[in-house]
Structure formats: structure tokens, C-alpha cells
């Protein structure tokens, strides 16, 4: 029964290569894109990190169609992107170490103005996710914590990460549970809704994961990790159990080379920021 359930969950992760985005609508090639965000309506935003810009795509009929670029002086090195409920793009500027908001029309709409965050050991955001009401969950590496601010940036609460970890990403579910991944130990942690600390979820996954750097939840249930140094995606159950591995290293379409971020929409279509291959790849669920 458990094995069958595992197969069902693992099969939920798209596998079929559909299409790749290599350039914007003017043919300017992507350069080391590290981030990608998507919506159920087919909007795909790539953080074209090496070129210091965002590139818009549309995913229609199994094809990624290139759109225009979005540049902002305030966003010199976008690394991770998320789309909020209003269609704004929130991008982490890896060099400025702040969240930049780009309006639905593609114009710079200001920084996320953080207010009231306790100082502790400094603040150095390396990842973020959006929760209910577009609350922003920031992974602060320098103080080993997750800081939660509202959509305007006002401090709400913070969750202390386990000491000694090397956390690379977080994910938030609809109920407010926060997941965190320790990239070195390949150990998943969970802070249940309302909790202020994390507890290990499942066993360390070092035998199946090389160096996970990105974590996302799917509407179908499983969690998906980007194993950047292992060049693949790893699917976990919500209990942290290993369900399977997808993709592998390579240069041709359908393969990945040091992937950055993955976005999975509610249809099961997945978009991978294939950093080392300088492209965004789309995958659809197997028919």
C-alpha cells in the first residue's frame, strides 16, 4: 500500500521534456539563469542572473514562447523569483541582498521595505518564499533563522533554525507549515503552523542527495528538491520520505547541468532554471 502510494506520488512529478527557452523575444540569449517562477495561467518568469535581468515567457500548448525582458537598475543580479497573488514579481537580488518588486506591467515597484526585524547576528537573505496573504518568508543565513514579514515588509515573527546547519532553502504550505532543507546534511526540517522552532522530518537523505539547494511544494502533495550538485530533482513525501529522482546531468534538452530553481504549477507542468545550460526547460506530466 505504501509502495503504491509512493509510486503514485512520484509519478505526479512531470517527466516529459516539453520545450526550452534559450533567449528573449529579441534573441538575446539567457546567461546562467538561476531562478524561475510560474503561474497556472502559463506565465513564466526567468531570473536571467548572468545578464542581470528578468525574461518573460508564456507556456502555451506545451511550448515556451519568449517574451520581453525586464531590467531594473535596482535588480542587478536576480537569483530567485516568486510571483505574488497580484501578479507582481518578487526577485531576490543576490548582490544587493534585498527583495525587489517588479509590477505586473514590468516596471520596478520598489524594494520590500523590511521593518522591525530584530538585529541578532545581522541579516543576509539567501532565499525566500511567499505564504498566505503574500507574507514573505526569508531565509536569513547570518542569523540562522526564518524571518516572516507581511506583504509590506513589516516584521511578523521569526523561526530559529537548528544550530550548526547549512540551510539553503525553505518552503511554506497553505497552512503555514515551514519546511527547511540543510544542504550539507541533506536533512529536511519542519516547523508546524504556529511553531517557532524546527524539528527534523524524516532521515538525512545524504545517500540519495548530493547538495540540495532549492525546495518547493507541489499542489499534488510531494515536495521537490533541486539537487544542484547532483544534477537532478528529488521527490519527497510530505513525511520527508524519499520517493524518487528525476532528470540527470547533460547538455541536451531534457537533461540539466547545475540547475537552480524549479517551479511546478497545479497542472503538474514543471519549469527548471537550468543554470549551467543557460536555458529554462519546461516539462509536462507524462500522458
Amino acid at each position: 500500500m505504501i509502495a503504491q502510494l509512493a509510486l503514485v506520488l512520484a509519478a505526479a512529478l512531470p517527466l516529459e521534456p516539453a520545450s526550452s527557452g534559450y533567449a528573449d523575444e529579441k534573441g538575446v540569449a539567457l546567461r546562467s539563469p538561476e531562478g524561475v517562477a510560474c503561474t497556472d495561467a502559463g506565465a513564466v518568469v526567468a531570473a536571467d542572473t548572468g545578464n542581470g535581468r528578468l525574461v518573460l515567457f508564456t507556456f502555451r500548448d506545451g511550448k515556451l514562447v519568449a517574451g520581453g525582458e525586464v531590467r531594473a537598475a535596482e535588480l542587478g543580479r536576480p537569483t530567485r523569483v516568486q510571483l505574488d497573488s497580484k501578479g507582481n514579481v518578487l526577485a531576490l537580488d543576490g548582490k544587493g541582498r534585498r527583495i525587489v518588486r517588479i509590477g505586473a506591467g514590468g516596471a520596478f515597484a520598489g524594494f520590500l521595505q523590511l521593518a522591525g526585524i530584530p538585529q541578532e547576528n545581522g541579516f543576509f537573505p539567501i532565499a525566500f518564499k511567499l505564504g498566505q496573504g503574500d507574507a514573505v518568508y526569508l531565509l536569513d543565513a547570518s542569523s540562522a533563522r526564518v524571518v516572516v514579514v507581511d506583504a509590506a515588509g513589516a516584521f511578523q515573527r521569526q523561526l530559529e533554525l537548528p544550530r550548526g546547519g547549512s540551510f539553503t532553502d525553505i518552503a511554506v504550505d497553505a497552512q503555514g507549515a515551514v519546511y527547511a532543507i540543510d544542504g550539507v546534511r541533506a536533512q529536511l526540517y519542519l516547523a508546524r503552523p504556529g511553531a517557532s522552532t524546527f524539528a527534523p522530518l524524516g532521515k538525512p537523505l545524504k545517500d540519495v542527495l548530493n547538495f540540495p539547494t532549492y525546495l518547493t511544494l507541489t499542489s499534488q502533495g510531494p515536495l521537490v528538491l533541486v539537487d544542484q550538485h547532483g544534477n537532478g530533482l528529488v521527490v519527497l513525501g510530505k513525511d520527508g520520505a524519499y520517493l524518487g529522482r528525476r532528470l540527470s546531468i547533460g547538455w541536451s534538452e531534457g537533461l540539466v547541468y547545475y540547475p537552480g530553481q524549479v517551479c511546478i504549477d497545479s497542472h503538474g507542468d514543471a519549469f527548471v532554471a537550468d543554470r549551467g545550460n543557460h536555458r529554462i526547460q519546461a516539462f509536462t506530466a507524462p500522458k
Partner: protein, 409 residues
Amino acid sequence: MTLLVALLLAAGPAKLLPGATGKVCIDCHNDFQEKMKKPFVHTPVKSQQCTGCHNPHASQHGKLLSADADKVCSTCHAAVAPAQPKSAHKPVAEGKCASCHDPHSSTNKFELVAAGNQLCASCHKALVEQATGAKVAHRPVEQGGCISCHDSHGSAKAEHLLKQEEKALCLSCHKPSAPGFAKAHGNYAVAQSRCTGCHDPHGSDRKGMLYNTVHKPVASAQCTECHAPASPGKPVMLKAQGVALCNDCHKQQIATMLGKARVHQALIDPNACLNCHSPHAARDRGLLRGKLTQVCGTCHADTIARQDRSPTPHAPVRDGSCAACHDPHSSDNVLMMKRASTIDQCGTCHDYQKHTSHPIGEKLKDPRNRNLTLDCLSCHRAHGTEYKHMVPFPNTTDLCVKCHEGFKR
């Protein structure tokens, strides 16, 4: 005949007739006359009970031993190593007792094949040379050798074959209450700390047996550069946490590091610089906590392990020169590479691109991916693969036909 051998093997230790001792063996093995004259003779040899270890007729084991060579000693000496060791000496764990002991006789006590530290040096040469050649020697090493602190078989109490846990072992001789101890340590409660964080127990060339690379404030006894004065309840409190602690002195270096597009996460987490560097003293230059493969391997174990499986070693990885290609602090390039261009990076050691290389460069598109141009990593993986020449495919044909599809069979 086969049946006879089987019966002999099944019979177990040979039961000799009364009076027929090992003298019978020595009649033929007459080199034992000399062996038995040595000052230290293994008890069964001395009592001429050769059958204690050998079967005189036939054996499934080499040298007619009555059990496997790695098990025969433990039939009598099972208790020499702890049953549940915290650390075990490799030859003991592998049953290779003869690496250190002569099973018959020796001029050394315990039938050791060499005396004292000389024996240990047969495997641990560099360590013994350091210990015996140090300007500031550790007295127990001078007087009693390695076994002053280490149990040569295994330790039930500590790592590294130490006779006790490290702190307890050091404090068994170095009493914190002794005059001068507190003064030498700036009145900080160092007895709570790990002594080998600063001191080399095998001796060093520095006063106080500090490791040879000493952090400047430690060398000048300026502990308060980093620590708040000791107070009850806060014996060794730091003046600041994380990178802020080091920033007071290393401001310019740290500003440069943090100014790059990619900052090594180890540099910004709560331990910051101390993840890789020792704050007091270290054996390695740059106050590193060990060789780079060891320091980097703490987090990037899988990447380091790839090299171990590679039939073709890449010299910088093999030699622990991770910083030959990567900037361990920060970089504007992916994977913290020192150079933006792979060809430039590899070119710092290899100049193939200047003469006999497969065509590579910015003008040559990779047929597999229109956004890639051909460079060294088009065919190789820098940390090695399970195949020769660091290529990701089992043979050259498999590699080449990925692009030259017309030659695919």
C-alpha cells in the same frame, strides 16, 4: 587421499603424542634455533608448542596456520583490543598483528618488529619525525613515546586511540590549578576547551607548543582583541558574533569578499570565518582547520569523493588545492570559480588550447545546446568521473557521438 586431508582438517589442533613437542618441528625448521635465542620469544614458541598456531599436517590457511592469519592471534589474545572501541588501530581491526609483532620472537619487548617510536614511524613517518624533531617537544613523547598517550591496539574511551578523552588526558598532567597555567592562558577558563585547538600534542617549533601558524592576537597575548574579559558565567565570551567578530581587523578583506556577487555561505552563517579557520593556532597556513580537501570536504564531501572514484586524478583536487580554481570566500562567477571563462581557468595549468586541442572557444557553438560554446567542460568534469580522462561517458566513442552524430553506429 582427499578424505584423509578432510579428516585431518576436521580434526582441529593436532594432538601430538606425549613427548612429541615442537622439537620435532625444529629438527627441520632449524632456523628456529636462532629465533629462540632472542630475548623476547612468543610463549608457544618458547614452550615448543608450534601446534598452538600451526597444523603440522594440512591447512586451508597459509603457512599451515590453524586459522586465518587475521584470526589466529585472537584465539589467545582476544582481549588485547576493547570489545567496543571508540577507535581501533587499523592493523588490529584488520587482524594484521604481524604488522607490529613478530609471531615467533624479537629483540623487542612484546615481540615488536621494531622498537618504540621507530615502529610507529613505519606507517606514521611524518608525525613521528615532527614529534622527534620539534624544537619544543612534548615531554611524554620524548620520554615514553607514542604509547604515553595512545593505546596501540584500540581505545574504548576516545578517538585517535587516546587512552582517555582528549581533555581529561591533557589535564591528567597539566593541572589548571598549577601556578602559571591561568596566567599563560590570560586567565580564561581554557580547561573547558579542547587543548589541541591551539597546541600541537606532538610538539612544534613555537613556544608553548602552539601550532606553527598562530593568529596574531594570540601570539601577542592580546586575547581581548576578540574576547570580552572573563567573568563568572561567561568565561570565554566573544566580543561579537559571526563575521562581525573578524571584521574589526580584517575589514578590508571582508568588504571585498562581501562585495562579490556570490558569497560562500560558510562565510555568512553564524560561525562565519570560524567554519574554516581556527581563531587561535593551526597546523596549516592561513589558520585553516586542516588540509583544504578536509576543510572543504566537511560540507562538499560528495564533490571530493568523486575524485576518489576517478581513474584519472585531477592534480588540484588530488593535492587538496581547491583554491587553485575556486575562491573559497566569494566570487562573481558560478561555482565560485576564480575566472569567468572555463578555458581561462583550465589554461592556468593546461595550455592545450594554444596548440593541439579540439576546437574550443567563444565562437564555437556546442551542437547539443545553442547557448553553450565549446570549452573544456564540454567533454570533461573537473572533479573526475568514474571513467578515464574525466569524461562523463565510458569510452571516447560514446563521448564524441554526442556531437558528431553522423558517426553514431
